[in-house]
Homo-oligomer: 204 residues x 2
């Protein structure tokens, strides 16, 4: 069969298809949209993708994502934030979610994932030793384990708890509350969510 | 609020968000995926997006998309294809859909859209005059109007029919059959689709 599309378009479709959850139809749609739009739009996207890796690095203390010319996460160096309160999250983007609440004035520690034998992620790949050192160094009073409410997140939380106990570190360990999300009717809340909500019930 | 993400990541998220149907969550997911993946993947995508516009142009005869170093669409210049049979489509990607059937050995003509007053697309923006010239020049015997089964596609088809009549061009004008798509149960086929299917019923 004759090649039906110009090779520059085929390349763009193939490479857009490497994005997560993007099949060939969606990739075609994206590429064709860019082709029909002003040249400037695809050039701008091209430039930001080219600079993505070189412009970003991990904070050596918290492992949050920072500008490559920064030395540490602004959320950590900020003197108004409480370094004795550490929220432990799986991924850098989880920080955004917690910051959006506007309720947290401590600092963060990014594990870099969760323990998942299926995906080949063991505890040795997570930034746990760095967390233990930091708890001691910053004289942390409380560590909030804010891993995901998944099997992997739970295993990681339990592993973390054991590590902190084994290291003989004296710190208050807390978890995010599990319960019924706002706006969800009881009948649609899952069984496990409901069990958590019952277990964690509070006085008025 | 302190900037929560490195600016290189924010730029990538913003620019990925310019793709059609991509909201901020999806753009975050794409950008974070690229950041976690090998540098090579985002660089490859960056390069193909940069070359997209310069590598593609419209065929001056059929308005299909072609490599910028080609002079005409290979589907048109191919001597084995029947130039007296022209399928008229709205967009260049429609050609792919028709070619995938493996049932068509004519040539194509891309209108470059469909008449849509809401989107500000009038008939003067479509490649209709070029089609009329081509019908005469290539002594076309049949023109298959393969516009979409939408209000805009129908209007465009009727406008085209009138244009060809007004120009006094003698050519067989046909349309794609409308009917029940394969794999769809009668009860789920829409009312208009069923009307078309009844109207276009055929002998065994």
């Amino acid at each position: 069969m004759t090649q039906l599309l110009p090779s520059a378009l085929v390349d763009a479709i193939d490479d857009l298809g490497s994005l997560p959850g993007v099949g060939s139809r969606t990739a075609e749609r994206y590429a064709y949209f860019l082709l029909r739009s002003d040249k400037h739009i695809s050039e701008k996207l091209s430039t930001s993708l080219l600079k993505l890796h070189s412009g970003v690095k991990n904070c050596p203390i918290t492992f949050a994502l920072i500008d490559s010319n920064e030395t540490a996460s602004a959320l950590y160096s900020d003197p108004t934030r409480d370094k004795t309160l550490i929220a432990v999250v799986e991924e850098p983007l989880d920080i955004i979610a917690l910051e959006r609440t506007g309720q947290f004035n401590g600092t963060y520690h990014v594990l870099g994932g969760a323990i998942s034998p299926i995906d080949g992620v063991g505890p040795e790949q997570l930034h746990i030793p760095e967390l233990l050192k930091r708890i001691v160094k910053d004289k942390a009073k409380e560590v909030i384990v804010a891993t995901n409410a998944s099997v992997e997140g739970e295993s990681t939380a339990l592993f973390l708890q054991r590590n902190i106990l084994d290291a003989g570190i004296d710190v208050k360990l807390t978890r995010l509350a599990r319960g019924i999300p706002v706006g969800v009717d009881l009948e649609y809340a899952g069984q496990i969510t409901l069990s958590h909500a019952l277990e964690g019930r509070r006085l008025f």
